[in-house]
Amino acid sequence: MQEVAVIGCGVTKFGHHWEKDQEDLLVEAVYEAVNDASVELKDIEAVWCGTFYPSTGISGNVFSDTLKFFGKPITRAENYCATGMDNIRNAAFAVASGAYDLVIAAGVEKLMDAGSRGLPPIEGIFSVGMPYVSAPGMFAMAANRAFKEWGWTREDLAMVAVKNHYNGARHPKAHFRKEITVEKVLKAPMVAYPLGVFDCSAVSDGAAAVVLTRPEIAKEIVGDNYAVIKAVGMAVETMHPWHRPSESFLSFPATVKAAKMAYRMAGIEDPRRDLDFGIVHDCFTITELINYQDMQLCKPGEGAELIRDGVTSIDGDFPINPDGGLKSFGHPIAASGVRMVAELTKQVLGKAEGLQVKDAEAGFAHNLGGPYSVATVAIVSRP
């Protein structure tokens, strides 16, 4: 694909923003992004702004009314937890096509107002005869099968949480900034067996925005101070994996296909060799381990070895989630994918103070949504 430049990033602190609503968060992220890009909001030609829950906002009005940004094309895209990165994908392709020169991709989510434990339930997505499963429940089913198939243990999962909390503790905008121990993870209350509280990503409020343009325009505006999106792959699978007989629960086909697509678009043959680090959708600890495999960082069944051997630690051979991941940074659904691309940009520009990956020139970001049904993978590098 035609490379697209990221020239500005804005991310609010993720967390429990009881005193703020989605308007406060989106205004903060968008103004931070346009200031970072040295452009003015009025120069933006089109916007893609994601929200997952309709309670956060629907339609282009979620952006227009918040920023009083009227009279221009705005699209609200929703695609489960991949909402954020899908908005980036649409915005990037619009810029790459030449239809617009300067656009914003943003995502915002206000989860705490829903007043529920875990994610608020979604009405009507399950068929009538089917039992309801919470998000951790969906991924716990993968964990139980992986335990059976590969002998992985709760300790393996706990190490993912420990690693990501270690990283997140060093990020000023992360939701949970506290290191934890394997013992603490194992002793935490159960959420969906075998996943305990610390196996689950944070339920957070937050917003993120990026300003996109083409590289030749980026140079004029910010000089060399930009990153490029080299690829965005995406795949949508079934939202009823439990009804598809071929589903192994040991791999998420949407990720496999989105990764292959992105690697091909970016000319990557071996991600361990051609890329320096990655940000994966660690909605749950088990998800991160399976993501290692699906992103082709190792063979099936070897995911746990990567965490045991420290390969994915921030100072390891291939750091994963140097920002703390969804686990510790927080997961305001639609904001997450946008934040990940902002984080990649910071890393490849060498601006990830305190959690900079050594020699980070190129990395990937990955979102996985629904019952492993929607995945997006973006490749971001120095120009």
Binding site: P121, E123, F126, G129, Y132, M141, P245
Partner: protein
């Protein structure tokens, strides 16, 4: 006259010690234990469970209960649908009286005897709601029994007769939540033995029989003492009454007694009591095995607190979904009849029925197939954010869901039922069987469907 060719009893997985009830409520204990339905069971689901183990087709279904879940809406049609019977099947409910079980048996006999129907399913079930701390809480038990009536069978119905006497008995007004508590001595003293005997006399005369020609007498009763009293009066030996391990199972009780009697040959009198009595003479020529022993064995003790949860007195239930009733009707074949599809292109069996195959996408080229009764757990979880039945989690009663590969193909996500907090035995690759249950209550409607349980 017709014959009885099959029988089946269903007991819920839970049993509650009456001493435990006594300890919690202060009511003197009647001893033994009573059968307790799981929270997702009612007389309709228990009826389906009892009838499911009977083989073959039926052209009529008669459902009997004093506790049908609907005041307007037939249960027999639900039963027929869950059993995947043809839409031409005749269905009817007989309700409101404890005598409904034997009334249904008599009706089935007439249907077959007249040649109108050839094979009739009689299924009686009760789950009578009783207030905590009342006598009825200890008296009643939740259970179901199904009987097959057709021309030929191992047990011949010789004849029947009835008596009618409107005594107070037990009752519920149209909008009552629980059964009314009243002095039962009037029934015991003037109603029960008298009613049975009044009904029996013309039957003996009609059949030319004397009490000496009868081998055994079983009859449902308002309480176990009344049954013993009756047998003392007529000079017969008391048979197993199942009060010590089930309780009085309402309309199902006489059919449970019948099912246990079918295990021995001989000539019996079967009585059903309620506002008078039905008396049926049956000649058992060939014994029929009943599943009551197995049902009694495969049960678990329940605490009084969990019994209160099952009864809806403890815990908050609020389903987040608002499923369309139109959709329930449209998808009946998958939801109630449990059909999946077999793709003619790739051969995949999948669930539910949908127009395009989940594996190869082939459009509109499949046959509808009913999925198996058993399967193996591919994977599972115990979800503490959701309560059984899609209700918002209380953290105490987690929601166990299993992905099951059904025998014969098809993979289905099912709620694991008959569990409250003990999930031992639920693992990958373990065998489960499906069971018909209440999924949840929403829109003031009860949504039914299939769940999984460890095989009983």
């Amino acid at each position: 006259m017709a014959s009885i060719s099959g029988c089946s009893v269903y007991l819920p997985v839970w049993k509650l010690k009456r001493d435990e009830i006594s300890k919690e409520t202060g009511m003197p204990s009647l001893g033994g234990e009573r059968a307790v339905a799981h929270w997702d069971e009612d007389s309709l689901t228990m009826a389906v469970e009892a009838a499911r183990s009977l083989e073959g087709n039926f052209d009529a279904v008669i459902f009997a209960s004093t506790s049908p879940p609907f005041r307007i809406k037939q249960c027999a049609s639900f039963v027929a649908s869950a059993l995947d019977l043809d839409s031409s099947v005749f269905t009817m409910d007989i309700t409101d009286t404890m005598r409904a079980g034997t009334d249904a048996l008599i009706t089935a006999n007439e249907f077959v005897d007249s040649g109108r129907f050839s094979r009739v399913l009689v299924v009686a079930a009760d789950c009578i709601p009783a207030k905590p701390g009342t006598l009825y809480e200890q008296l009643y038990g939740d259970a179901a029994a199904a009987i097959v009536v057709e021309k030929d069978g191992g047990a011949k119905i010789l004849g029947y007769s009835t008596s009618t006497m409107p005594l107070p008995g037990s009752w519920m007004l149209a909008n009552d939540d629980t059964v009314r508590d009243y002095d039962m001595r009037v029934d015991a003293r003037y109603g029960y033995a008298t009613g049975i005997q009044q009904a029996a006399m013309p039957l003996f005369a009609k059949l030319g029989l004397s009490p000496a020609d009868i081998d055994r007498i079983v009859a449902s009763a308002p309480d176990p003492k009344s049954y013993e009293g009756l047998l003392k009066v007529v000079g017969a030996r008391p048979e197993e009454f199942y009060f010590g391990n089930i309780g009085i199972a309402g309309t199902a009780h006489p059919l449970i007694l019948l099912a246990s009697q079918l295990e021995k040959t001989g000539r019996i009198i079967l009585g059903g009591y309620g506002e008078g009595a039905d008396v049926i003479a049956i000649e058992i020529e060939e014994t029929q095995e009943s599943n009551i022993g197995r049902m009694l064995e495969n049960r678990k003790d329940i605490s009084y607190g969990d019994y209160m949860f099952n009864r809806g007195f403890v815990g908050i239930r609020d389903a987040p979904d608002r499923p369309s009733l139109t959709k329930v009707w449209r998808d009946e074949k998958s939801i109630i009849r449990f059909y999946g599809m077999k793709c003619r292109n790739c051969g995949t069996v999948s669930y539910p029925i949908s127009r395009c195959c989940i594996e190869c996408g082939t459009k509109d080229d499949y046959e509808e197939v009913r999925l198996g009764d058993r399967g193996r757990i591919y994977t599972f979880t115990i979800d503490y954010l959701v309560m059984p039945g899609n209700y918002t989690g209380d953290g105490v009663h987690p929601h166990c869901v299993v992905v099951v590969d059904m025998d014969g193909g098809g993979r289905v996500l099912l709620e694991m039922t008959d569990v409250l907090r003990d999930f031992s035995g639920i693992e990958c690759d373990v065998e489960v069987e499906r069971t018909f249950r209440l999924l949840f209550e929403k829109n003031n409607f009860r949504y039914y469907g299939w769940k999984a349980r460890l095989p009983r």
